[in-house]
């Protein structure tokens, strides 16, 4: 019998990553609904609704840690979380790009860099998106570089290039391997373990 799961992601790239993890760990599940919330605040505000949804199907939620100290501190700031078994609230340390980088080999071949150029402990990166962009700036071919890296690299906005989401979501769907990446990122490992419990 097909089981259902719901996905709530902070942005498009996170959504692509969560879908890939589910397809790898939970082959018996279909994603019954999936949404991109455009920021952590929106996720936090709607948590009550997801808790209600979790009574009928598991809900996988993922947000970035960003500048906060650690996931428990971040979540404690969200007040008392609804105690609901099916509500899987995961935090990517510090950003979803850390999980992406954690599949070193595939990221290296996607960008065109040597595997040892890819950061080895992505969860320790202060700004994983910047690290990914640095990698692309140094090694990517001209088309990919133009797609990923913003024209004005030092401006505060935009932080990503014009086809960043398009190219990375495609990479995640076709090449990225959760079972490899989980070995390099503790926050991804915890998320995968939580998912496996649903199997």
């Amino acid at each position: 019998m097909v089981k259902k799961i719901a996905v709530v992601a902070e942005d498009l790239l996170t959504q692509a990553v969560l879908h890939k993890c589910i397809s790898e760990v939970l082959p018996a599940y279909i994603v019954a609904r999936t949404e991109v919330k455009g920021g952590r605040g929106n996720v936090q505000r709607e948590l009550g609704a997801y808790a209600a949804l979790a009574q009928v199907m598991p809900v996988l939620i993922c947000v970035d840690l960003d500048g906060d100290d650690c996931a428990p501190t971040l979540l404690s700031g969200w007040g008392r979380l609804p105690p609901q078994a099916g509500l899987l609230l995961r935090v990517a340390v510090r950003e979803i790009e850390a999980w992406v980088l954690a599949d070193q080999k595939r990221v290296a071949s996607f960008i065109g860099a040597a595997p040892n150029e890819v950061p080895k402990r992505p969860d320790e990166l202060f700004d994983p998106k910047r690290s990914l962009l640095e990698l692309a700036r140094a090694h990517a071919g001209s088309e990919l570089k133009a797609d990923l890296v913003p024209r004005n690299y030092d401006a505060s906005y935009p932080r990503i290039g014009r086809a960043y989401n398009l190219r990375l979501c495609a990479f995640i769907a076709s090449k990225w391997r959760p079972h490899v990446a989980r070995k390099k990122s503790a926050s991804l490992e915890r998320a995968m373990v939580a998912l496996e419990k649903l199997a």
């Binding site: 942005d11 498009l12 920021g39 906005y157 935009p158 014009r162 960043y164 989401n165």
Partner: protein
Amino acid sequence: MKISRIAIRNWRNFKNADVDLQDRTFIVGANASGKSNFLDIFRFLRDIASSSGGGLQKAVKDRGGMKKVRSLAARREPNILLDVTMTDDDVKWRYVLEITQESAGKRRPLVKREEVYKGGEELLKRPDAQDKADAERLTQTSLEQVNSNVNFRDISEFFAGVVYLHLVPQLLKYAEGIQGKFLENDPFGQAFLERIAATGEKKRARRLNRIQAVLQKAVPQLEELQFERDPTNGKPHLKAKYSHWRVNGAWQREDQFSDGTLRLIGLFWVLQEDPGLLLLEEPELSLNKKIVSFLSPFIYKLQGKGQVLVTTHSSDLLSDQGISLDEVILLEPSQEATTIRSADKLEDVEQLVSGGLGLGEAILPHATPQTLESLASM
């Protein structure tokens, strides 16, 4: 070639505006702020330069005459001025057209001033001695004349190649029932199928294949998209195969496609035509949120070397974090006329996006009339 800047005086609701344009530019503004009027400037230049003829006189007449195209706010300086700067690799072009109206008689539009510069060098300056000798010449621009535009044929061809598509699915679906008049340049996609039919077979197949790849992801159950001619009357059609309840799937023709499917096909087709300048009106219409959130990178990837101007009301479309602030321009109506500003000149928007708010959420409140609250009292 790309339009890097345009200065406008007295064009419809723009009394005086001046704005930089990027390779990809999103135009936002409240209803009736003049987004379509802004795009119409480029359609107007196309109509003047277009090889099908008619030039300035027809371009103005098709728009209902001078009193329709001239800003209502134009009083002291009643002429229309379009001052367009273009760049072609490193070469900078500038085309200036000032239009006035005959003071008596037929009240025809007349060229008051027409200038072309290439890299600072003046290639044309009218009125010239010949114009003074024969005032009738001023009813035509040099842009529309093969004999006089030889030195700046590049910009004439660039304007003539402007493409505007605002596909209205119903016009296509009910084409036979409507039996309507086909507008020149087919702005609303009535003759969209003819356009596909007129494309060479290989090119057509390649483009439809790419569109099919997008549709397979975007439209549930859609498996295949094909072009065919009706065996009885030779009319062109699109057909799509859906993996429905029938074992071998069911083929449907375009009149059964959803509005969103047709709009998506139109959008992706026209992007692949690779025009020098493409004008898109609210591409988000009838499309679901997720597709819309990928439209801006799709446009960027498919636009090739061409330039694209897009009007939009969609926060989802503008949510892509790869859009630079200078790629968005805001039209703001006021008592007198509409002003145009680029989003990098709006300090609140700049602060909000650096603070993590999506660009759409940051700028669209500027495109909401403040009087809207009083609607509730209706």
